[in-house]
Symmetry: C2
Subunit: 329 residues, 2 copies
């Protein structure tokens, strides 16, 4: 064991305290010993500046007090805010966060899961882009936004309710004909429900609704073409647009400006996520706000729960509407 020489060992503590090595081990691992022994050991630990080697503890307890978080990157503000919130929750519980950036690469993601398992982390929280992800039964995993079967809890926003809320807000604000613009994975995931909720609410509210759905990687130009296809004599067919993310909304607002249309005067726009400029300033658009703190808290609680026999397979957390200047209110 390659301990630096000036690092006191458990043996040094035992010698200093005048107790058996086993007694020190018990105190260090929180196993009850006689009060006077405990005090002696704690005094010796303090005096020598003994630091418990977490690796030794990991071997002993089978717990490493570390959780791996796999996220595509930290450049996208939504992913960054998720990792930020998970970090706060883990830290309050004295857990470490080991971060892996998958860059949307399924192979890389699988490799990181394997590495995390090797590292004997106590669990993995993952926003996956690998529909065939293989995880050993021994390492607890909680998934964000992706359903992997009843054994792996999935935590997401109430995406369906969020889509519904967006339609309600556009209707309340006087819209008569709206469009839903979506770009994202070809595979149905929790966020796909944003469209379902929106479309169903339009039906219920009697709001005429068009859709333009792009697969991930399709050129943004297709949205521009779609809008121009619905543009005649300086007027757009739609007076409201629901975009699948704030990031898409940001681009669409730029395109509408280039077409000479004013937002929200001519067209009202609602995004999804709740991204703020520079992380903590104003909302970048009117939006459906994802409950990032509640998602983080739920993920960690499910991951670290002692009784894994009764975990939910899906938890959807309520969203809310945020006014960001791109709707009338």
């Amino acid at each position: 064991m390659a301990e630096p020489k000036n690092n006191p060992t458990m043996k040094d503590v035992a010698r200093e305290a005048g107790v058996a090595l086993g007694t020190v081990s018990k105190v260090v691992n929180g196993i009850p010993v006689g009060e006077e022994y405990r005090i002696k050991v704690e005094k010796a630990i303090k005096k020598l500046g003994y630091q418990l080697n977490s690796y030794a503890r990991g071997l002993k307890s089978g717990r490493t007090m570390a959780v791996a978080v796999l996220m595509p990157n930290l450049v996208s503000p939504y992913f960054a805010s998720l990792v930020n919130a998970i970090s706060r929750v883990l830290s309050a519980k004295k857990y470490h966060l080991v971060y892996f950036g998958t860059d949307y690469d399924p192979t890389q993601e699988q490799e990181y899961v394997r590495m995390a398992e090797q590292q004997k982390v106590d669990g993995i929280i993952c926003l996956s882009y690998n529909p065939r992800l293989v995880v050993s039964d021994e390492t607890p995993l909680v998934s964000i936004d992706r359903y992997f079967g009843a054994k792996i809890p999935c935590v997401a926003s109430d995406n369906y309710g969020g889509g519904w809320l967006a339609a309600e807000k556009l209707k309340e604000n006087g819209c008569r004909r709206v469009a839903m613009l979506r770009i994202g994975s070809r595979l149905p995931h929790e966020p796909s429900k944003r469209r379902d909720g929106f479309v169903m609410a339009c039906e219920a509210l009697g709001l005429e609704c068009d859709q333009k759905i792009l697969d991930d990687g399709a050129p943004y130009q297709e949205f521009i073409d779609f809008l121009h296809g619905h543009y005649n004599n300086g007027k757009l067919d739609f007076d409201g647009i629901f975009c699948v993310t704030d990031s898409v909304a940001h681009q669409i607002i730029g395109t509408l400006g280039e077409m000479g249309l004013s937002v929200p005067g001519d067209v009202q726009v609602i995004g999804f996520d709740g991204i703020r400029s520079f992380g903590d300033m104003e909302l970048t658009c009117s939006t459906i706000i994802q409950p990032v703190e509640a998602i983080a808290e739920t993920c960690v609680n499910l991951l670290l729960s002692e009784d894994k026999s009764q975990l939910p397979s899906l938890v959807c957390l309520p969203v809310k509407y945020g006014f960001g200047g791109t709707t009338l209110k």
Copy 2:
């Protein structure tokens, strides 16, 4: 050792391969053995699904292949982009990144350094807000933006050169009287040189320059008051403003708009950092771009360099100008 029972051990591998335990240990730790033995061991490892316990490896080698990164948070896009870049560099070198969010709290930061040391990480990369940070000599530390003495390498942008470049660009774009707006720590840090470089360049270029410096935590209103104090008959005294960060620039551009001034028509604005909308879209303003990838790469290389006897105490990396629509070009 609380290994799950269905986890094969090194002993199981030795039995399966028909070799000595020491041979398995050598193969697993990359120490050369006869070719036929290596093949036998690798086959047995594959067959049994043996996973090397990183904790056991950590105890043996004294290396944990983990680096702690301490950052105030991941909500600020600049901090998030730094951690993102550091994660990529570490990952390519097969190191894990353990993330700690300090929330600007010096006590919390010190506690995290202690935890990282206990965890026996191979090093710490820190953007510190604790001028009295105590780090043991045994754990290598590289500091971003903060100088902690000759023994701890500090990596930063060429902040002085960046300030100078901002003044040059405003001059080139026809400005005659400029202002520097700074908000930040009361203590002089590497980023404080942004102002020094700007002021010196204004002097050299014959550009009249005012300054308004706020301490961290001072109300933004003081900037508004400063601007109104230089505003007469619909005209501002300045035709160019250099802001210490893109985030300040974003707020100032909003204030100028409320005052009825157009950017860049009436006033040109340059920020610092190089933040893009939603992480990867357009620059949020004309700006001095920090070399995030180079900073990350330099931090990791210094931290993991074998020979620690000849490390530089400060490395400043070149910045560049990015046009973001808030200057004429």
